[in-house]
Symmetry: C2
Subunit: 332 residues, 2 copies
């Protein structure tokens, strides 16, 4: 059975929601879980130990702690201990809803990077018009990027879409302010030149609308732009739903209309809800690491663990590793 | 009466929709119009000449022409002739739905910049949760910016929100990947240091969600990020409406619900529709210049002209001029 370490102390609702999410997967026999954290604090929330072990580590990274501080002083934290178990081969993946900067730092520090990757990147999975999902990377890990970093994101995103999403020839694009080659900024222009040489199904520059219209499978950006893209998306969805909520309260007719459309509203919210996806993989580290939203509840943690399991089964790490190797040797 | 030059040949639906939009304003006596373009092509669409003159200029900037080419070779185009009329004091503002890169170039070249402005910026007006509207600048004019440019955008946006939107103390923020001072990229960090010194109602870094949640009045970014922010917004709205459209077709119950909610759907689409706003002002040139969407129809042109009129009445140019002067002298 695939074995996954879960940082029991990470997240705004830890340890309660984390323990519950982990236990639900273990009890269903979907994975074997190692809960890492303060046993005294986690134990009261556990009902049984089926497929579930605990590793006691009282030290915990705080949610708003400077990642640099955690990296220096908290190598014995529940978060890093989970990565150490992965490094030692005792588990196949790590799930944490803790301080995401620290999780990224410890993942890189403890697991190491896949050769050929300078900067591991957070990939988010999002809905689109029509079937399937698209991914965006980097979603916030690396703010100031060089062209080579974006080129590596393209390779990793391509490997992810091929191995995990099963897309034969993923359509990859750089997020830009227009499709023409004359568009883009200094960073994207140089990255474009690099990615063109990889032989991917590369679309060149794509626009913000292409993130959601089904034209792309993988959208590449630096982490500054990627984070803004995600937060803007959230903001627009909130605006639209707030508008309908207000309108519905003003009119009896609209209120009835809403009741009839309620299933659709719910279905969309489910589609857009991060807790349905569970978390975002950190691509480029030598292992499977899922970074979850700080506000993760039981369902989000359960889904994040199942996502991690899928990545292990699909051989995500090997797939990225092979891609990076192929493209390094082709450059020599 | 306020007098506005309209580029009769600019836009995907020129001259028909442009002439119709201009004429509707003139006929209602809301402004006096000077239609600039090929008289032979515009005339067939005109029904009368009330409050409306024409200036004949057969040369026309193509929609997909390289702006640099237009700037070099088409100084006698309808587009630039409109700006020349403004420069000469014969009109109070210019409206063009033509090639936006060329319109920006000619506006800067012919009208000149307000002292203290290095890079004029396109400001877009967008809805938000609750009352009022927010503005984003730069929405795509300047891709690679320096910190001083972002600082100037903050001053211009502040002047715009105060003079045109009538907000006493506009809340201004830099679009970033998080609110903390440790966030941001190299560009925003230096811009942040500059803007802090201006004495504005400055929020520091704001997130993508803050563009729409009513927390900000003015959001500042470089044109690369600004364009992506707008296109992502469009993409998310399209995704949501496509989802509902598909769902409605699948269920009779949902279909009835949609009929009852139709007014709300329409109202939102109106709120988000660029043709309702009409166009975006180019802030920082020495005059009033409205850049419209290439796909502008009669309604969009009409609204753009009325927007231009409002900017003239509210003294937008003077207000920006004064702000730039105040902050230049305070820096000396």
């Amino acid at each position: 059975m695939i074995r996954i370490a879960v940082d029991g102390m990470g997240g705004d609702f830890a340890p309660l929601e984390i323990v519950k999410g982990a236990q639900s997967v273990a009890r269903d026999g979907l994975a074997s879980i190692v809960l890492v954290g303060d046993v005294e604090k986690m134990k009261p929330h556990l009902t049984d130990n089926v497929n579930l072990d605990m590793v006691h580590t009282p030290v915990c990274v705080e949610m708003h702690e400077a990642p640099s501080n955690a990296l220096r002083k908290k190598r014995d934290s529940s978060m890093n201990r989970a990565f150490e178990l992965h490094k030692a081969g005792e588990v196949d993946a790590v799930v944490s809803a803790g301080n995401s900067g620290a999780a990224m730092g410890f993942a890189i520090f403890t697991l190491g990077r896949i050769p050929g990757v300078d900067r591991p990147a957070i990939a988010t999975i999002h809905p689109r018009i029509g079937d399937g999902v698209s991914i965006l990377l980097d979603a916030g890990g690396n703010v100031d990027c060089r062209p080579a970093h974006l080129a590596q994101f393209a390779l990793m995103g391509n490997a992810f879409a091929a191995s995990v999403l099963g897309i034969a020839s993923p359509r990859v694009g750089i997020l830009s302010n227009g499709e023409e080659e004359t568009k883009g900024n200094e960073l994207t222009r140089e990255a474009h030149t690099l990615i063109k040489q990889f032989g991917l199904n590369y679309l060149g520059y794509v626009e913000g609308t292409d993130m959601y219209n089904g034209r792309t499978d993988v959208v590449v950006s630096d982490g500054f732009v990627g984070n803004i893209a995600l937060k803007i998306s959230e903001g627009v969805a909130d605006l639209i739903f707030a508008f309908f909520k207000e309108g519905i309260q003003k009119s009896q007719k609209a209120k009835i209309g809403y009741v009839l459309l309620k299933d659709l509203f719910k279905e969309f919210q489910k589609k857009a809800d991060y807790s349905e996806t569970g978390g975002a993989p950190l691509l480029g580290v030598d292992g499977v690491s899922i970074i979850c939203h700080g506000k993760s509840n039981e369902k989000a943690i359960r889904n994040a663990i199942l996502l991690a399991k899928k990545f292990v089964e699909k051989g995500l790490t090997k797939s990225i590793s092979k891609t990076m190797q192929d493209h390094q040797s082709s450059r020599k």
